[in-house]
């Protein structure tokens, strides 16, 4: 009976996921091909799947991700000649099996799956739906394993380190899971614990992924993909360093005051290590639960405002791209404050990247077309705009104009405007279909930052005075930059 129920739930989940996945509008508008491929992958039992394992719930999602990846790869090959296509499909079949067995740690597989959404070939709005489903799945480590991590990290059991510690995790997080606990001094905290050995698994997974993508080496800019994968690996490995995340968390916390109504939880150093991160527990809900309360426009706008202030504060003051803006990282608090959690996937722009990033924005604001073209050429890894096909330049530039629309509009900007959002998506689709995906690895994260944030605000159906916020936040930088030498030690 239970098995039947589980099967029904699984097929329901599968349907929801299938609905959420993007389809190829030209060759597969109904998604039939996608469905058959995913069913095929799901039913293909690799030995790993026949064990009910720690990542049981995750495995359905992992298989769907694998299926989707296959679909995506196929669609990339649709223009190739028949022989090449067959050859590539044979490669793909072999690679798919590999993907099924890829690393036994589903956590890493899922993370890699999510990161693939960074490659601009994948459509962000729909994929964001899938990703949000992935983030709150059942936690994979049982408590005995958590205890072993604690003994290794602190030399003591969780119940000894804390006054009280929940056996059950309440959320899955960056390559680990989060438990609720209470300090001896009474504070309620969230304790994030990393899966043992995850960094190695990530390296192994990425190695497998490069093999998996091998069929693409003739069809797209292979070196460019490799460079991006290397960047993804770098970021994922950075995410396994909770000590670094603690530093990010403290910096972010220092960027906001009570008046900002944005909260970054306090880090408890004495309860944190490279693999365990203890922070203040923020009470509140995630976006889906917030929307389920049928909030009024005022509330939606309020949180859109806070989210915009929060992300651009981090951008302008700390030169950060919060590159993992998935819905689980934002907490809607009952008192109207916005909580920001999880800074594992934060890209700190180098001085060169920071200047470059702002040159493009400034050129667009100044309507300096030659300057903007030069910046775009560089972002696309061309020496000069004249080296780019005119159509490529045009498509990428119109994407950038779309990005800049809120910056240029006086007054309120409506991020819930469907036309606006879809124009951005259409541009990505067009660029992808035409193969205009060559770009600096940094653009992976800036795209993720932009689309993640905009998809979130679109879902929220919120408005804010974006230009005013941008002017406020960017002005702060120049003033502060002038003052800095005086204050610096």
């Amino acid at each position: 009976m239970q098995v039947e129920e589980a099967n029904t739930t699984e097929s329901l989940q599968m349907e929801i996921l299938l609905d959420a996945l993007p389809k190829e509008s030209a060759t597969d508008p109904t998604g039939l091909r996608l469905a058959s491929l995913i069913t095929n992958v799901s039913n293909k039992k690799v030995p790993v799947n026949s064990f009910s394992r720690i990542w049981t719930l995750g495995s359905l999602h992992a298989r769907v991700t694998a299926g989707y990846l296959a679909y995506w790869l196929r669609s990339r090959l649709s223009d190739a000649d028949k022989r090449q296509q067959l050859k590539s499909e044979a490669h793909l079949a072999a690679a798919l099996k590999l993907f099924g067995t890829m690393g036994y740690m589903r956590g890493a597989v899922m993370k890699v799956g999510q990161m693939l959404a960074n490659l601009p070939e994948v459509m962000p709005e729909e994929f964001a739906e899938v990703l949000s489903a992935l983030h709150f799945e059942a936690p994979p480590m049982h408590f005995a394993m958590v205890r072993e991590v604690f003994l290794d990290e602190f030399g003591r059991e969780p119940e000894e380190v804390f006054a009280s510690f929940d056996r059950q995790a309440f959320a899955a997080a960056s390559l680990g899971q989060v438990h609720r606990a209470w300090l001896h001094s009474g504070e309620e905290v969230a304790v994030k614990i990393q899966y043992p050995g995850i960094a190695r698994t990530i390296k192994a997974d990425l190695r497998n992924l490069r093999l998996l993508l091998q069929p693409l080496c003739l069809t797209i800019d292979w070196q460019d993909t490799l460079a991006k994968l290397a960047d993804i690996e770098r970021m994922l490995l950075m995410e396994t360093d909770y000590a670094q995340e603690a530093i990010f968390g403290k910096l972010a916390r220092s960027a906001f005051t009570a008046a900002d109504r944005v909260v970054v939880p306090q880090i408890y150093d004495e309860y944190s290590t490279g693999r365990v991160l203890t922070t203040e527990y923020l009470h509140g809900c995630h976006i889906n639960d917030f929307l389920a309360t049928d909030p009024g426009q005022g509330e939606r706008d309020h949180f859109t405002h806070l989210l915009t202030v929060a992300t651009y504060r981090l951008y302008y003051r700390l030169h950060w791209l919060p590159a993992d803006p998935h819905p689980g990282n934002f907490i809607f608090m009952a008192d109207g404050r916005l909580g920001l959690i999880d800074f594992g996937c934060t890209l700190t722009l180098s001085d060169e990247e920071w200047i470059f990033s702002n040159v493009a924005i400034q050129a667009a604001l100044d309507r300096d077309l030659p300057g903007l073209n030069r910046a775009i050429a560089r972002a696309c890894r061309f020496d000069d705009p004249d080296d780019m096909e005119p159509d490529r330049l045009e498509v990428i530039r119109s994407g950038f104009y779309w990005f800049m629309e809120p910056w240029q509009q006086e007054g309120v900007f409506d991020f819930g405007d469907r036309d606006f959002f879809l124009r951005g998506i259409d541009n990505v689709i067009e660029a992808t279909r035409k193969g205009y995906t060559r770009s600096l690895p940094m653009t992976l994260w800036s795209n993720r930052f932009t689309f993640g944030g905009r998809a979130f605000c679109y879902k929220l159906k919120g408005c804010c005075e974006f230009r005013k916020i941008f002017l406020q936040e960017s002005t702060w930088t120049s003033t502060e930059a002038d003052e800095k030498p005086l204050n610096s030690p």
Binding site: K45, V46, P47, N49, F51, Y104, F143, A144, R147, G197
Partner: protein, 207 residues
């Protein structure tokens, strides 16, 4: 003059300590019984009264560690664990106690716990195996299994466990963290075998 039981015990402990230092410092293969006796301040002949061979000595250490591990496990068990989790706790508690011996454990375990037919069965190794399996059966018994698992299942368990020991004693990752997933995997597999759930009836290999 009769040596008191206490003095005997102290000598035994001293020999084990010195042997452990030598095994860790020089390696198991390169440490001789003479070295150990010398370090413990004993005549070689006297030491043989305590431990007839180097293997016996090392397996005594292992046996002690296993016993301490079982004690730790009993203390740590909350009673809320499921079968898989409880077995994991049991195995992990044992490995934690074995950890100081890890640098020289590989050859010792290979000689004393080998599942292959041997002329000389190491009695300490055999004792360690039987005690370990008895503890596993006790755990299984707590989780609603009326019958003890049969010979095949327990042999399978022991094979998995030896695999874990082999991997763990060779695991260079910090705190042997790479082995944790293997332990968990192996235990889940065993639990599935004895529970008879989730059988794939061989279709996994049909295509």
């Amino acid at each position: 003059m009769r040596i008191s039981e206490q003095a005997k015990q102290e000598t035994r402990v001293r020999i084990l300590e010195k042997a452990a230092e030598l095994f860790i410092g020089k390696g198991f293969e390169d440490s001789t019984t003479r070295d150990i006796a010398l370090a413990a301040g004993l005549a070689a002949g006297t030491m043989f009264n305590y431990f007839p061979s180097k293997e016996t000595l090392a397996m005594n250490m292992v046996g002690d560690a296993f016993r301490q591990g079982r004690e730790d496990f009993k203390r740590r068990r909350s009673g809320k664990e499921g079968l898989t989790e409880e077995l994991y706790l049991f195995v992990a508690s044992g490995l934690r106690r074995l950890r100081p011996l890890r640098p020289f454990l590989g050859p010792v375990l290979e000689r004393s716990l080998s599942p292959f037919p041997r002329k000389n069965i190491c009695p300490e190794g055999e004792t360690a195996r039987l005690e370990h399996l008895a503890a596993v059966q006790e755990i299984i018994g707590r989780h609603g299994f009326a019958e003890t698992p049969d010979y095949v299942a327990m042999t399978m368990y022991w094979s998995l466990y030896l695999g874990i020991l082999a991997c763990w004693s060779n695991d260079e990752s910090p705190n042997q963290e790479s082995s944790h997933a293997l332990i968990d995997y192996s235990i889940r597999m065993f639990v599935q075998v004895i529970s008879g759930v989730g059988s794939d009836k061989g279709e996994a290999h049909a295509s």
